[in-house]
């Protein structure tokens, strides 16, 4: 058991996890069956295969307030659908670059291969990621439709930054 699993005060990151049905989702179930306590910060969205993941989903998760996004798929060579995880990996590598350039810290976006038997890895990865993001702090993406007044009144860069801190 880690301290991360018990932390209830301070900033609680919100992490959206996309887990493939066959490996990682099952591993998360296994972690449950084995009563492995871990940080409560991850919410799992189940897809049949990590290959189903459209980068739009990841961005949408961030846009909707996620502080981090975790993708879990089968280990290379283990995909239930033969090669979906490779597609996920290709998209992930490209997307990671774009995310980086867009200023989203690397620790907020992670892909992990977690086999159905690796309940302990689910626990470890989630705890690690929660800790990492706790250190990074909340992700406040700039709302798309800022009340225009915030811009008009902007006098200094500091104020502009403050304006970005609003909630979408």
């Amino acid at each position: 058991m880690s301290d991360t699993a018990h932390k209830t005060d301070g900033f609680q990151p919100r992490i959206v996890a996309f887990f493939c049905n066959w490996c990682t989702y099952t591993a998360a179930d296994l972690a449950g069956t084995a009563r492995m306590t871990y940080a409560p910060n991850v919410r799992v969205v189940r897809v049949m295969c990590s290959g189903r993941l459209d980068p739009q989903f990841i961005m949408e998760a961030f846009r909707n307030g996620a502080d981090g996004v975790l993708i879990g798929g089968c280990h290379p060579g283990d995909c239930h659908y033969q090669a979906g995880n490779y597609k996920a990996l290709r998209r992930y590598i490209l997307l990671k670059r774009v995310m980086k350039e867009m200023g989203i810290e690397e620790g907020r976006f992670r892909l992990e291969w977690i086999a159905a038997s690796e309940g302990d890895k689910v626990q470890r990865v989630i705890n690690e990621m929660t800790e990492t993001i706790r250190k990074l702090g909340p992700l406040h993406l700039e709302p798309v439709n800022i009340p225009a007044t915030a811009h008009v009144q902007v006098g200094t860069d500091k104020a502009a930054v403050a304006a970005r801190g609003g909630v979408s």
């Binding site: 699993a5 871990y38 919410r43 189903r52 739009q56």
Partner: protein, 667 residues
């Protein structure tokens, strides 16, 4: 910006049912707060809680509300969908709605069981429920397709588990293909002398079953063969089997041994695999007298004809039926089966990996499997246990847990070693009257008659020292130790380090997954635990099923097991296969992909993305089209489709996007 198509028919009416799962969920998640929360979510018309939603009254709750017209979509917040999705879809269907107007929120495995703090658990449960509600509001009615199940079964591995499963199926009138890698079936059990705790002769109880396999009209036995390819899905597998050439025609060979007699090697020269290399065999051989099939095999690695090309082949001349055929070649057989039982067994731990036990360095240190052969009347010494110099050992140390319960090798308990060590202790004592020392960490004898057997051994004047052996070597501290192997161990019950001099050491090696288990599991598209054992679907409720429908497990390939457990599991696997066959058909998950042809631009992106070749390009209309029968529903093409023309049933972009919105907002 683009305007999303409105795909909901009318205003959804969603019922949310939150399960206590006894106290499993209710202890961690504040149910009342969660119900109140759910009731306020968009389109939710009913929000209820119940002690056990999966029970009949629980399901009835859903059905009543559907029948009363209160709801047309259902969210159940309870356990994992891998556990009860089917149950609740059925309930939804029984109530009169389409079974796919249902979504599950996993608030047990993903929330109550893994969260420490009660408030945090409640927050997380709410988020998952909101996600399910958002998602189900966009669900659409779907139809399942049914495909027939092929009644034949493939059994892989001809040890006791594979044999038992094959016979059970064959006796039920099903056709079985039994594929075994070695030249004979029988597996490890054929090598044992006696079985614990009854001490009945292993061969005596096994060989009748082996003969039955050979004789059964419903069993096609392919020894010296391996599965090399598997395609298809539950009910409809296509399997390729490679039959290695044994250079002896199975149909003609009568097992008379004349060929072996005639071989240019007058005596055995090559390590005999069946006897753990403790004796020698010729290049043409029959592994053991009760081998099934009783057909000779030529090992091309050692046969003079294959090595030099200069042999006069007396074996062929000696064979009256003319069964020896040097021109035999490998054969690939293709069969169609509806289900598969994997019974590929285990591999004994390599004792040389624990260097401090001196295996391979000092003489008179044997593994337990070697001792099985040495005490076996049909073994290389005719059942006499002798040391390298021919003397009978006066003292024997049996070291438990070699390669088990050790993070440096295998962390798990191999389950059978305590009992077989007791058996060997008994046999050694019986045959040699030596002092026998058992060195154990914990004595584990959970089984019918097992503890009684332990007690019997305690009374037989066998020494039991509780302590894991530290090292075995040959340096003597005092004269009495000279010429012996010294076992150094802490007697933990006394708290003192002891040096026990013995003549012979038995290393009770643990069980490991087969070295090619990983390749096999990939072949059959199943999972392995991190130790390498094939992973069952559920450790308690689906112990012989896998995550791939139609593939079942039997015996030690799933984890260390003794003979009674292997046989029981083989019977269970056979029963699962029978259930599938007798059902006659399987329903396929309707999560296939489909092309919205109106908007497909024919860009070809999806074609190569599909691993099953399920998408084809229709040139005449410049559109892609998904073959629903071939599509397995991974959705990879949907993610790749650049213009959103491809969608996946049950996993449309909108449904997933809505789930994301639900999981993030509202809490």
């Amino acid at each position: 910006m683009s305007v999303p198509e409105n795909r909901t028919n009318g205003t959804p009416k969603i019922g949310v049912y939150i399960c206590h799962c006894g106290i499993n969920i209710a202890n961690k998640v504040n149910i009342k707060e969660t119900v109140d929360f759910a009731a306020k979510l968009p389109y939710v018309t009913v929000a209820k809680e119940y002690k056990f939603m999966c029970s009949d009254p629980g399901q009835e709750l859903i059905q009543q509300d559907i029948r009363a017209g209160l709801i047309d979509r259902v969210v159940v917040a309870s356990c994992s969908p891998l556990m009860h999705e089917a149950t609740f879809r059925n309930a939804t269907g029984e109530g009169g709605a389409n079974p796919f107007m249902f979504q599950m929120a996993n608030i047990r495995e993903h929330v109550s069981w893994v969260t420490f703090d009660k408030d945090a658990a409640t927050v997380k449960a709410k988020a998952l429920i909101a996600a399910a509600v958002h998602r189900v509001s966009l669900h659409r009615p779907l139809e399942q397709t049914r495909v027939p199940v092929h009644p034949d079964v493939l059994v892989v591995g001809g040890g006791i588990a594979g044999i038992h499963a094959s016979l059970t199926l064959a006796n039920a009138g099903k056709k079985v293909y039994l594929v075994e890698r070695e030249p004979t079936i029988g597996g490890h059990m054929a090598k044992f002398d006696k079985t614990f705790p009854t001490l009945d002769c292993s061969a005596c109880i096994l060989t009748p079953k082996m003969s039955a396999v050979r004789a059964h009209p419903n069993i096609t036995l392919w020894t010296y063969s391996e599965v090399v390819g598997v395609e298809g899905f539950v009910g409809n597998f296509k399997v390729k089997v490679r039959r290695k050439p044994r250079y002896v025609d199975e149909d003609l060979c009568v097992g008379c041994l004349e060929c072996i007699e005639a071989c240019i090697f007058k005596k055995g020269k090559f390590p005999d695999e069946f006897n753990q290399g403790l004796s020698q065999r010729k290049p043409i051989y029959i592994p053991f007298p009760q081998a099934t099939p009783l057909v000779a095999v030529i090992d091309p690695e050692t046969c003079a004809h294959f090595k030099t090309g200069k042999c006069k082949k007396p074996c062929a001349d000696a064979c009256q039926p003319g069964a020896v055929k040097f021109d035999q070649t490998e054969e690939i057989k293709e069969v169609a089966v509806g289900s598969v039982i994997l019974a590929t067994g285990f591999k004994a731990f390599d004792a040389a990996r624990v260097g401090r036990y001196g295996y391979g360095k000092y003489p008179n240190i044997y593994t337990s499997l070697e001792i099985e052969r040495l005490v076996n009347a049909a073994g290389p010494t005719g059942g006499e246990l002798k040391m390298a110099d021919g003397r009978k050992p006066k003292s024997v140390g049996i070291v438990h847990c070699v390669g088990s319960r050790d993070n440096n090798t295998n962390a798990y308990c191999s389950r059978v070693c305590c009992m077989y060590s007791l058996k060997l202790a008994h046999l050694i004592k019986e045959r040699t009257e030596a002092e026998v020392y058992n060195f154990y960490i914990d004595m584990r004898t959970p089984g019918k008659g097992y503890e009684e057997f332990y007690e019997r051994l305690l009374k037989e004047n066998v020494h039991f020292i509780r302590g894991r052996v530290a090292e075995i070597n040959d340096w003597a501290m005092i004269d009495e130790e000279k010429g012996h192997l010294i076992i150094r161990v802490e007697d933990t019950l006394i708290g003192r380090v002891r040096r026990v001099p013995v003549d012979m050491v038995v290393l009770s090696v643990g069980l490991e997954a087969q070295p090619d288990a990983d390749a096999v599991r990939r072949l059959f598209n199943i999972s392995c635990s991190h130790e390498g054992w094939f992973l069952e679907r559920h450790p308690k409720l689906a112990p012989v099923s896998t995550f791939t429908e139609g593939i079942f497990l039997a015996g030690a390939c799933q984890g260390p097991k003794d003979i009674p457990d292997c046989v029981a599991q083989a019977g269970a696997a056979a029963a699962e296969a029978l259930a599938l066959i007798d059902k006659g058909s399987v329903e396929l998950e309707p999560n296939t992909a489909f092309v919205n042809e109106e908007v497909c631009a024919g860009c070809h992106t999806c074609l190569n993305v599909c691993p099953y070749g399920a998408i084809s390009y229709i040139k005449e209309i410049n559109k892609a089209r998904v073959n629903g029968a071939l599509c397995k529903g991974c959705g990879t093409c949907v993610a790749a489709c650049p213009s959103g023309a491809l969608q996946q049933n049950l996993f449309t972009d909108e449904q997933i996007m809505n789930e994301i919105k639900g999981v993030m907002n509202h809490v």
